[in-house]
Symmetry: C2
Subunit: 158 residues, 2 copies
């Protein structure tokens, strides 16, 4: 049983400062910072990120996005699914189940999940029940998509 | 003047073996290997990859894919564009202009280009005239897209 608490992350300067400790800091985070500075988004509004705190320090995170059924190119029957990216646990906090807790949280929505993991993490995703798709260049464009199928869901026929 | 010769790579066992030396080896390469083994693609057929040889050794490569205008979410006016991925130069062959030669080759088609580079390469892409897009979560989903605009092309209004 995993008792790690997964929380929705709020957009504020503290969160955005903590994001800088993660390797996959990029345009998404910069855009959130600019929107906050320009008052386009409110302080403490919900972000697309979920995370795990150790004390008051953010030590693991992921971004989750619900893709509308109309854009589903992966699942049969076509349906809303979750796209998961930037799953990352800070080096000193790895091997404690935080990554697993985040993925289990994502699964708890009961929707299929697609992710495009960094190269060295195949074993972790396999353990979490994710499988590679049949590569389709037009759709996958150099990505290495892994998917998780809830009961009753299968791969889209290509 | 850059005299490096850029060649279209052919799908054969030699190329696929050389691909294993590149960090970004993944589902795309595995899928090409399986298709070759199953005779779904012919030996020595064109691949989506272009590369630079040093002697008979492949030392740099990229994958290029032409996206149809109908799917263009980046450019104004909407048009066919090139998606560039897996640009990579083997460590011992870096700083010789091979990466630049590949990107210049891609530009020579005269189409806009989109890429989603690995994190540490911002300076290179800037030198090549690429600029970040305005991040759009629905479209970019955690990517860090950089684009190159040929004359007369601008960013799509969001």
């Amino acid at each position: 049983m995993n008792l790690t608490k997964v929380e929705r992350l709020l957009v504020n300067y503290k969160t955005l400062e903590e994001f800088k400790k993660f390797k996959e800091y990029g345009l998404q985070e910069l855009s959130m910072l600019e929107d906050l500075q320009a008052n386009i988004i409110e302080n403490d509004s919900d972000s697309p990120f979920y995370g795990v705190y150790y004390g008051d320090k953010l030590v693991a995170r992921m971004s989750l996005y619900r893709v509308d059924k109309r854009f589903d190119q992966y699942f049969e029957p076509a349906q809303d699914y979750l796209e998961l990216w930037k799953l990352e646990v800070l080096p000193d906090y790895q091997k404690r189940g935080y990554g697993q807790a985040l993925v289990e949280f994502a699964k708890s929505f009961g929707l299929p999940i697609k992710t495009n993991p960094r190269v060295k993490s195949a074993h972790f995703w396999e353990k979490m029940g994710f499988v590679p798709v049949d590569y389709d260049m037009e759709r996958d464009r150099g990505e290495n998509p892994l998917v998780w199928y809830p009961k009753g869901v299968t791969a889209k026929e290509s």
